[in-house]
Structures are given as C-alpha cells and as structure tokens.
Amino acid sequence: MSTPSAPPPCPHLAAHRLSSRPLRFLRRCLRVRPLGRPEIRRDPRELPRCSPCAAASPSPSPRLYACLSCAAVFCPSHAASHASASAGPGHQIAVDVDRAELFCAACGDQVYDPDFDHAVFLAQSSSLLPSTSSTSPSPTPRKRRRVDYRAWAPDPAEFALMSSADPTTSASAAAPAGLRGLNNLGNTCFMNSVLQALLHAPPLRNYFLGDRHNRFLCPRRTPVRHRAAEADATKLACLACDLDEIYSAAFSGERMPYSPAKFLYSWWQHASNLASYEQQDAHEFFISILDHIHENIKDDQHKSHAQGHGDCCIAHRVFSGILRSDVTCTSCGFTSTTFEPCMDISLDLDVGDNTPFGVANTKPHVRNGERGLAGMNSKVSTLMRCLERFTRAERLDAEQKFFCERCGERQESLKQMSIRRLPLVSCFHIKRFEHSAVKKVSRKVDHCLQFPFSLDMAPYLSSSILRSRYGNRIFPAEASDADAVSELSSEFEIFAVITHSGKLEAGHYVTYLRLNNHWYKCDDAWVTRVEEHTVRTSQAYMLFYVQKTLYYKACERAAAV
C-alpha cells in the first residue's frame, strides 16, 4: 500500500482543467462538519433538488450532483442529458453535493483530481484547527544518526584469524549458526522460548556478537563495594552481560544444550516478585528483561526522551516504537493527540467476530470471499485483522467522557490508535489469556491465528490512518502532517514465533525460528527441523518480525547468515 496516486484523468476532466480555473478554487464552496464528510455549502433552508426529477415526482433523490459550470443540480439519471444538452462545453464535470466527490457526467463515473482533493483537505484541516497545529509536542522523528561509510578490508592478521576459524562456528550444512537447545531448569520453558527468539533477532544478535556489550569489560561487574547487601548484589548483576554470555554460548559452535542458569539467577535478583519456581508468562518475562536491560545499561544523558528515541539502550533501540493515540470529541471534532513509546503491541484475538463494522469498512467483498474460500468456521482470525481492529476508531464508553478543550466540557469521544514509528523488531503479543475480574475466572483462548510470513505495516501507520480519516484524499506531501514522512520501510519479515500449547495453568512454550528460510522448532533442549505447516497451525502467542532491510532472506547456501 502506498500513498494515493491520481489516476489519469478522463478526457472530459482533462478538458475541464484546461478551460476552467483550477479546482482548488472550489474550496469556498465546501463545508466540513465535525466528524462528517465534506460537502457543498448551502443555506440551511435550501434543499437541493433535481429539476427534471422534481417535474416528474416530488420525492428527492438521495444522490445529487451540481454542475461545476452552471451550478445546476441533477440526479445521476439526468446527469448524462445535462452534459450533452446544455449549452457550451465544460458541463460534463459535476460535484457530488453531499460527499464532495467529482463526477464526470459524460463517463458516468466518479473521477479524481489532486487539486480538488487539496481544496477538500485544506477545508478539513482548517475546520479542525487548532488541533492540527497544537498537538502535544510530538517527539519529531529525529533522523537516526548515520555513520559515515568507511571502506574496510581485513589486514593479514585478521585474515589469518578468519581462515583459521573453526568451521563449526560458522553455519554448516547441518544447521545454521547460533542454533542450540536450552535446558529446562525447572518450569523455565517461558524463559527459554523468549531467549531463543532474542538470540535470533538480527539487530540484537549483531549487537552482542559485534562485541558492543562485552561482559568482561562491563563496569557493572566490577565490584565497587564489598558488602554483601542484596541491593549491591542487584547492582552487580547485569542482564546484558548474562545475555552476552548466552550469545557466546549459542554461537560457539557447541551443539549440546546450554543451561542459562546464570541468566535465571540474575533475573531473579532483579525481578523478585516474579522469582519463584513455577510457570510464568513468557510475555511478562519478555517485558521484564527488556526493562531490566534498560536499567542496567541505559545511557543517562538521554533520559529525557529516552524511551521514544531508543538511543538509551539496545533494548529500546531494537524494540521501541511509538504509538499515536487520537481522541476525538464527537460533538465538535476536536482531536487530542498523544504519543507513547511501546516495546510491543498487544492484540486482542477477535474470535468469530468477523463482521468488520469499523469506521471505514473498505473491503466488504473480501470478507465474503474469505469466509467462503477458507471453508473454515469463524474461528480463524488473522493477524492483519487484529491489527485493523487495533487501529480502528472506537467509541469510548459513556462513563469515560473525555474533557474536550474546545467545548469546555466532557463529551463522548472516539479513540484511535496508530503507529507513529515502527521499531526495528516488531513484537506482537496475542492476548490469549483472559482474566475476568468480575467472574473471577481465567481462561485461555485457543483459537488459531493466521499470520503472514511477510508483513507490510503501512496500513497501520499514523500516516495511513490519518489519511483515511480525511477520506483518502490525494494531497501533496508538504501539506500533510509530519507523520507522512517515514524513514524506514514498513515491510517486515517474520523470524520467530513463540507458541503456547496446553491449558492456562499447565502449558508449554515452544519457539519456532526461521533461519535460512527453514523453520526450526526449539522445544527447550530439543531443536528439530519442521515444515511450514507446523508453524502455520500452531497457536501463536508472540510473533517477532524484523524490518525487511535487516533480514537476509532465502539464502540457500547455509554458510550465509
């Protein structure tokens, strides 16, 4: 999906553009109501009618067009006759009175013009002022610092070192590099599954293998005091160092399963509330360790915008994105926008609710097609539908009225989420565990989730969501919100899936890894190769996607990694 592009104009529209003033001047004819469509301005008492129809029958037609040349109003059935019968050229182009869309009476079809769309857009944005200009100061996407390119070639000593390297450390025909089982230390499959996913997240892997955090040189490891107080013990434990050790172990070439005991010990020192021998939630663990890594190695200078920019630590650099939340007052249309950093996106699993009555239901025909051809019951949800639901405009409860600055009172409102900036690695957490405080029960949602191996996040970006909110008008980039600019591409490739099988109280986590376009199942110490369909039919709990530019795809030669 890309920005809308104007299709080539029909000959009548082209002729009209040459002969008349630019369509931008129609702006003064437009009127925009809060949360409504742009329409042609008219007096409150004025009721447009189709003149030929009015003669025949008194009932008004639902769709009316106004000729751009003579402002005559007619309904679709009389459009063609107006175009041909009226005096002089240029009466072919009309505008839909209620929707502000151009219509070519000669072609009998809706047509599109960038100038006109620009006029509509300006009308819409001016009516929404001051919200578009006074959004809470957003962290403007600072251009990520780029490093100057310097060519490099190995010197003889380095070359010798590389040649002498143990061939088992690099990928062999048997299995890709870094593939190694992790021993279960006693109900620690939740930890193993997350570690496997992290081990093969390209940016994170490159960071640690590139010696960016050397566990032998980490300042935290140097004991400053000799007291055995637990507070100091926590200071000494650095999760990033322990992770570094796990990377070294996994990529060492050694194939016997590794026991991440030290990591568990360090983590328990940090997260004492979760430190117990029992099953844990993998997602909770994931968030916990990212948070502790941040605490361990954050760069204090960047505290102010730390989490949004991701310059504070590797965890944020890799996983942190920015979400945009728009709350719109339903009575005056004023929108309040906030930005918040996020390390992952938690999605509701919409079960069987495949009737998409969102604000912009854009694909009715596809829905029917999907239900038919999948041949499955409504228990199949898809990741894209979950994302759509996540970015859908939702009406907030009447109890949660939002205080509208413009109205000066609490009003009902709509809330819409969108993604302002994508992280390098997107982690999607599927909410399979439902806890009802009311009924005091918890249950697991077992429904299957379909997920693509290649994912384009463009429809869920703030730029796309905003654009569709304005009716998908074509407008020049500079006129749009700064959100339209995005540096990185929005295409992602999947590399890890953490699945959960079993019941809520007693279940098992397994990670599927995609390496060299083969899938491997990492079940604690057991690493086996599996086929795609196994992955597709598993119960995805957490999905990890990496930006396509960072993913080396389909290297049949196992040596490439």
Binding site: N187, A261, S276, E278, I345, H435, E505, D523
Partner: protein
C-alpha cells in the same frame, strides 16, 4: 414495520419508510464512493495480498494436517514428537533426557545442582518464593495499558500450581514457599 403485503400504509408509515430508504441509499452510496476512491487510487493492493496469503495458509494447513495425521491434532502431535521424541533425535542427531542432566554450580551457595532441578533449588537457596510476591514492578504494568482502547487493561499474573507436564515430573504445589531450609530437594522426586 409492516410487511409490504398488508393493507396500504398510513401516511406516517409511508413517511417513515421513505426516510429509511433515503438513509439506506445514502449509506450505501457513501460506502460505494469510498471504495471506488480506494480502488481507483490504488490503496487496496494489500487486500489481494492478504486474500492470497489466507488462501495459501488454508491450503497448506489443510494439506499438512492431512498428510501427517489423519484425524489428529497437528500441533499437539508435533509437540509430542518433538518433546519426548521417543526414539527421535534432534537436528544435530542428539537425544536428551527428560530432566537435563548437566551439573551446574549454584552461584548462590556454590553447591553442584542438576540443571533440570536448578530452578527449585535456586528458589530455596535465594529465599525467594511465593511470599516474596508483594510488589508489582514497573515492568509488569508497563506492558499492559496501552492498546486497551479505553477499557481497563487486563492484567496477568504468573500462573501458579503448575506442573510442567511435558518436562520435569514434579507434582503440583511443590514449593514450600522458600522456608530457607535449603532443604532436601530430593523429596520432590516422585
């Protein structure tokens, strides 16, 4: 709303019907106009991709399921095959016992511990356990409130009384709540 086969409608009903029809036409025209714009401006390219993806997925899932186990549950069987791998080997040609047999030196007390029993040992060793659960750290709440769309966030808690049925053969409710006796964990062996 009376059916159209009944006696002629009262003027009021006619008016209501007229209103309804007009609103319906308007709504349909709205959707048509939006879809037309999306299609013309090339914004719907992802729809075909999504449809194709779903088709491929359905086909492969069905084919795989049939191929591997007539009538069985796919994931479960694979999980079973992978886990205990009765008679199977992993991708490196190795096999592993149900309880990891590696011996690790505990970094808290210095004693050698079998890897598969390291976690219960460490829990006792460090004096952690159920009773040390009072505080909720920032990390546990940070991950939850975002995408709730105005609804109170659901909260997770670690799941207790669990026996990891595929792995270690330990009965339920095994922890003694960290009584710190550094006890004899051989009592957990069934």
């Amino acid at each position: 709303m009376s059916s159209s086969n009944d006696a002629p409608l009262s003027p009021r009903s006619q008016l209501a019907l007229c209103c309804f029809e007009e609103l319906l036409d308007c709504a349909v025209a709205d959707v048509a106009s939006e879809c037309h714009r999306i299609a013309r401006l090339g914004l719907d390219r992802s729809v075909d991709a999504e449809e194709e993806e779903l088709r491929v997925w359905a086909a492969r899932a069905a084919a795989g399921a049939e191929h591997h186990h007539p009538g069985g549950g796919g994931a479960a069987e694979e999980a079973g095959a992978g886990a205990g791998s009765k008679g199977g080997v992993d991708v490196f040609g190795q096999t592993h016992p149900a309880i990891a047999a590696d011996v690790i030196k505990c970094m808290n007390c210095g004693r050698p511990v079998v890897a598969g029993r390291f976690a219960p040992h460490l829990e006792k060793c460090m004096g952690k356990g159920r009773k040390a659960r009072a505080k909720i750290t920032r990390s546990s709440t940070a991950g939850r409130t975002r995408s709730s769309n105005g609804i109170t966030a659901s909260s997770y808690s670690p799941y207790s009384n669990a026996a990891n049925t595929n792995r270690v053969n330990v009965p339920n409710g095994v922890t003694d709540g960290g009584c710190g006796t550094g006890g004899d964990h051989s009592s957990h062996v069934p």
